[in-house]
Structure formats: structure tokens, C-alpha cells
């Protein structure tokens, strides 16, 4: 009588599924009953007790633009494969891929009750959304970390499956999940707390056992009383910039931004530097990113006071939180100097 192997299912995007790049980001779900792309590596690292029985591939845009229906479709596919364990990604720092991996890992875990593991770079915006629902192993920023991270995902996944001990986030290398587990320790809480207080008083380093959540709440700015008297500016993170790239924006991980006269931007050679989306649509018609045609009409009709001549452009692909904040503050300063009352920010 042969041993029944546990069934692992892997979820990857169109790029890792070898379907295509940004141009294929809108493809829907496809399924292979064999390991494809990274799933081959997963399969080779799973020991004899478990094997990859299927790979689910889905385009980043297809998923991100219709999350609810994509989750429903995806969970159904995992259920049909009778998965015992589910691996998503790794997504590294890719925002949309992080969203699809996080959504899938979370929904599969909740709806099918099976262990799920994914992996992301800690600054991936999807981390905060899903860290409580699944194990998000910490990756480096580049996908060259694949060979290093897949064995770690497999290791924690199998332990999860077999109900073996999984240690703290710090010890195991996953993003903290805010799960409180009871553990036996050598010293009582009183002893550990006094120890920490003594260190704090002496100005010595200590490690808190529970960290308070970090909030960065921004009060919504007050509403405009009358748009007919207001000056509006357009801001975008879609990265449509002059061909010469005078402000040295980068295709991803950008720390710079630019302010451009809109007419000049369009009259001269321009391109989309943002490498995280297919810029064909906005290059065909830049009003899709900078809705100036409609805004000019509204000014002429007296419904909007004034439109700022310059547009503010950055590149929103894998920008670090600190960079994004810094750029926002710098752009806001320019908006205030230009006596702008309100802004529309378009994001791709």
C-alpha cells in the first residue's frame, strides 16, 4: 500500500508563469496539473511526503482590478485540486502580485482551512493587508532571492501542515502576525519586566516583547467651499515624463519627482518610465492619466476656478514608504507655493 502524498498547489502570476510581462498582465486564470516556473523549485524542495499537484497562474491586472471575483474563482480552483497546502508567490516587492498572493493565501486559508504560505519584501504594500492572515516570509527586494526563499517557505509550510512547532516571527523570518501564543519561559513575567525597566532606566538597549502598532494617521484636509473659486493641480504616480528625464526618475524604487508644464510635456518627446504597468494606453491618450481636457472645459464653464499649468509627476513603482512620504511633502510644498487649493492624484 503506497503512502498518500500531501497535495500542494502553487499560485503565480503571468510573468513567473512564463506567459508574458506587463503586456499580458490582464490574462485570466489558467491551470496546469504540473509544476510551472517557481513551482518546479517548490516541488524539488518538498520531501517525499508532499508534491505539487497543480500550478495556478493569473495576470496581475486581472486579479487586482476585480479582486472579489478573482478570489472566488481562485479559491474554487484550489478547492477543485483538493489541495492540502497552498503556496503563493513569492511576490518580493511587486505591489499587484503581493495583492493577488496575499488575497489568495488569506482566502484559501480561511475558506478551505488549509495551511497557506506566501513571501514578500517587508515594504510590499500588501504586507500590512495580509500579515495577520497567513505566513508572509520576508524576502530580499529582488527576485534573485527565489532560490533562498522557496526552501524557507516549504519548511514552514510543512511544519504548519504537520502541526509542528513554529517559532516567533523574529526567529523564523516571517512578518509578525500579531498572534499571541502561550509559551513556558525560564523567568516569570515580573522578572522579565523588571529587567527591561532597569535597562531602560540605565539607557541600555532592551527588546520589548510586544510592540505597539505604528499609526501614521493623517487628518483629511478640509473640504473646498466652492470649486468655482478654487485652483486645482494634477499629480500622478504614473511616470509619464519628458524623454530627457531631467529629474532622473527611476523605473522603480524612485526617489525623485518632477514638475512639468503640461503643454510642453506633450509637445516634446515623452515616455512612461514606470516599469510596473503597460503605458500604451496613456501614451495613446495622455488625458487618461492627466484628465486636462475635461478640466479645461470645467474652467471655461465656470465650474472650476483655475487649473495649474504644471503637473507633478512621480513614479509609483515599488517606491519605499519613506521616499513616497518625502516626495509627497515636497510636492505639497510646491502646491502651496503655487497657491493650489486642491489636487487630483491619478494612480496606475
Amino acid at each position: 500500500m503506497g503512502n498518500k502524498k500531501w497535495r500542494a498547489v502553487c499560485f503565480i502570476n503571468q510573468f513567473f508563469g512564463q506567459i508574458g510581462g506587463e503586456d499580458k498582465a490582464s490574462v485570466g486564470f489558467s491551470v496546469s496539473d504540473k509544476p510551472v516556473g517557481p513551482a518546479i523549485l517548490f516541488n524539488s524542495k518538498l520531501n517525499g511526503e508532499c508534491e505539487v499537484v497543480g500550478t495556478i497562474i493569473c495576470g496581475d491586472n486581472y486579479f487586482a482590478e476585480n479582486i472579489e471575483s478573482a478570489v472566488e474563482e481562485g479559491v474554487r480552483l484550489v478547492r477543485d485540486m483538493e489541495a492540502d497546502i497552498f503556496f503563493a508567490g513569492p511576490a518580493f516587492n511587486a505591489g499587484r502580485y503581493g495583492i493577488s498572493c496575499g488575497n489568495m493565501a488569506s482566502a484559501v486559508g480561511k475558506q478551505l482551512g488549509i495551511p497557506t504560505v506566501t513571501a514578500m519584501y517587508p515594504e510590499n504594500p500588501a504586507v500590512e493587508l495580509f500579515r495577520k492572515d497567513t505566513y508572509i516570509m520576508k524576502t530580499k527586494i529582488l527576485s534573485s532571492d527565489m532560490r533562498n526563499i522557496v526552501p524557507k517557505m516549504v519548511d514552514i509550510g510543512l511544519r504548519f501542515l504537520k502541526n509542528e512547532h513554529i517559532g516567533s516571527a523574529a526567529d523564523e523570518g516571517y512578518i509578525k502576525r500579531d498572534i499571541i501564543k502561550n509559551e513556558y519561559l525560564d523567568r516569570t513575567a515580573a522578572e522579565r519586566a523588571i529587567d527591561m525597566v532597569m535597562k531602560k532606566i540605565k539607557g541600555q538597549p532592551f527588546v520589548s516583547e510586544v510592540l505597539p502598532p505604528e499609526f501614521d494617521t493623517v487628518e483629511p484636509a478640509p473640504a473646498i467651499r466652492d470649486m468655482a473659486k478654487a485652483k486645482l493641480a494634477l499629480v500622478t504616480d504614473g511616470g509619464l515624463i519628458p524623454e530627457s528625464n531631467p529629474d532622473k526618475l527611476k523605473p522603480n524604487g524612485s526617489t525623485n519627482w518632477g514638475e512639468y508644464n503640461f503643454e510642453e510635456l506633450l509637445e516634446n518627446k515623452h515616455f512612461v518610465i514606470h516599469s510596473g504597468y503597460d503605458g500604451t494606453s496613456v501614451l495613446e491618450n495622455p488625458y487618461r492619466l492627466f484628465p486636462k481636457d475635461v478640466l479645461v472645459d470645467l474652467v471655461n464653464e465656470g465650474k472650476l476656478g483655475e487649473l495649474n499649468d504644471n503637473v507633478f509627476v512621480t513614479c509609483g513603482n515599488c517606491a519605499s514608504i519613506d521616499s513616497a512620504k518625502g516626495e509627497g511633502q515636497a510636492i505639497a510644498k510646491r502646491l502651496l507655493e503655487s497657491k493650489v487649493d486642491a489636487a487630483i492624484l491619478t494612480s496606475t
Binding site: 491586472n61 483629511p220 499629480v235 491618450n285 484628465p291 505639497a332 496606475t348
Partner: protein, 70 residues
């Protein structure tokens, strides 16, 4: 003394989780404002609906956990 902003984006989860207070769901990742499937005139009308909604939101109180649709 902040400047009210409406963010138009198709993928609104990230904006919402950060606490952006005026989010308008955009048409698509590659086309935030407009609809490339429509004829030029119709697309401009579609774009106008987005912008009129955005201006309306700028004149209303910002709400951090909501996403508006056109």
C-alpha cells in the same frame, strides 16, 4: 492646513489601508480616467463623469475608510 486630494486609482486597497481620505475607484490600472473601449466622444464624457465626481468629493468631508465609485 492640508490640501484636499482625490486619489483616482483602480487598485484602491493600498490607498485605503494607508488611510487616504478621498478615494475614487479608477477605470483600470493602465487607464485611471477614461475608457479605451469607447469612441473618443464617449470616452471624454466618461472622463467627465469621473472628474465631476472628484470635484464633488473635494467639496465633501474626507472619509478614510471609504471608496467612491463614479
Amino acid at each position: 492646513m492640508g490640501i484636499p486630494v482625490v486619489q483616482i486609482c483602480a487598485v484602491y486597497d493600498i490607498a485605503r489601508s494607508i488611510g487616504v481620505s478621498r478615494i475614487l475607484r479608477g477605470f483600470a490600472i493602465t487607464c485611471p480616467v477614461g475608457n479605451p473601449n469607447l469612441a473618443a466622444e464617449d470616452e471624454k464624457n466618461s472622463r467627465r463623469r469621473y472628474i465631476e465626481k472628484a470635484l464633488e468629493m473635494l467639496q465633501s468631508i474626507g472619509k478614510s475608510d471609504e471608496v467612491e465609485d463614479v
